[in-house]
Symmetry: C2
Subunit: 269 residues, 2 copies
Amino acid sequence: MASHDSVVSPAGILLDLDGTVFRGNELIEGAREAIHTLREMGKKIVFLSNRGNISRAMCRKKLLGAGIDADVNDIVLSSSVTAAFLKNHYRFSKVWVLGEQGLVDELRLAGVQQAKVPKEADWLVISLHETLTYEDLNQAFQAASGGARIIATNKDRSFPNEDGNAIDVAGMIGAIEASAQAKTELVVGKPSWLMAEAACTAMGLSAHECMIIGDSIESDIAMGKLYGMKSVLVLTGSAKPGEQRLYSPDYVLESIKDVTKLAEEGILL
Amino acid sequence: MASHDSVVSPAGILLDLDGTVFRGNELIEGAREAIHTLREMGKKIVFLSNRGNISRAMCRKKLLGAGIDADVNDIVLSSSVTAAFLKNHYRFSKVWVLGEQGLVDELRLAGVQQAKVPKEADWLVISLHETLTYEDLNQAFQAASGGARIIATNKDRSFPNEDGNAIDVAGMIGAIEASAQAKTELVVGKPSWLMAEAACTAMGLSAHECMIIGDSIESDIAMGKLYGMKSVLVLTGSAKPGEQRLYSPDYVLESIKDVTKLAEEGILL
């Protein structure tokens, strides 16, 4: 039997934030209008980000501040997905956090137990920590040296901000792994199944009904390919024009503002 | 011809500091008296430490505060040896420092040029930084991402302090290597030839005329073996009794306070 590839126009959009909608705290030109256009077309949108240092509530506030409406249930962050994973699979574990308030908020919201001292932690959760001090690193080292297993919200090496690129979670992971001679067991962020499934579940759609739009070949485009979603690379973030990697996007746009071109080409109907 | 091993009683002692003379800021019991005894026996003493975050002047002050006389020229630190290396071999280079004031002091004293911004650095010097912040890490990341070569004062994973063990330079190196995808070219601290030669030069002695006393098999005992010095392991720091490693010490003492036993045994005359 000949297989018949039915062309399905995506019903759901997984929309990356850093480098796609925002650059640092700055809204990328035309992003608000593009999101409006997608919604006018009846598309469901989930905002997703490997940022593990903010909560969905904080993210929602940032989106609202930029004039973009979003429900917390339409936001999927590595912080909230990490919290859900620990709650679902390790409900008797205590965690120590090398990270920020947003992550702690999500862990509390999920009901994950926090260790009182590093030595009693079953898990060390490592995330971006932009106000990190030596003592924070040292406490995480104590947890890992004491046998805590390591889970990381993501392992991005750098993230784009107003000044270019800044050191990201890979740096924090590197510090702990090298000093405590330990290895990270699980990285939650894109392109993991955890993020993909959380986004699809939030929309009530299957992966093949979704399209991911993002600036990172390693996380966004890879996730699209790995889970059978159409993928669109935008060039407003980490990827450079013409860059070749293991995974190629289905489409490339200069910017999210050009999303109307996908409609013009009949890719999004 | 039969070779004749002449037994030479060491004329110079390389005395490690952290874990041997001090534990954190606390003087190890009997250390002052042991140093006095060695000097009474006519031994030259060089104090040496992989600590790259303090200057020799700061170290001298700490020793004096504990009632131990020392000239700055009798102190060999990875900070001062790093500064001398850069001055001697890369005099036109500019450096960026991920480290503390003591290291900066030694670099200035040696006349090493400091980069004004991370991006203009030819070398990134990584050392222990007990007051490290995210911004310090990020600037070091900028330097390494911009192409600066990496030199580390040492690569100890942890150091003993009053509370047990604390995260050391390996953590800072791990952070930068993982995020900037760069590798450290040179590690200055023990057991490197740079530290061994600096200590011998300070005493005007050859390595075979020296004995090293320290608490670390990986740095102190390894250095003794690699350069043909007699070596004495003390058990007041990182090494555990009976611990086996590639390098074995010639002698083991419970503590520096038992140094008189070396005289009683005819090892130090």
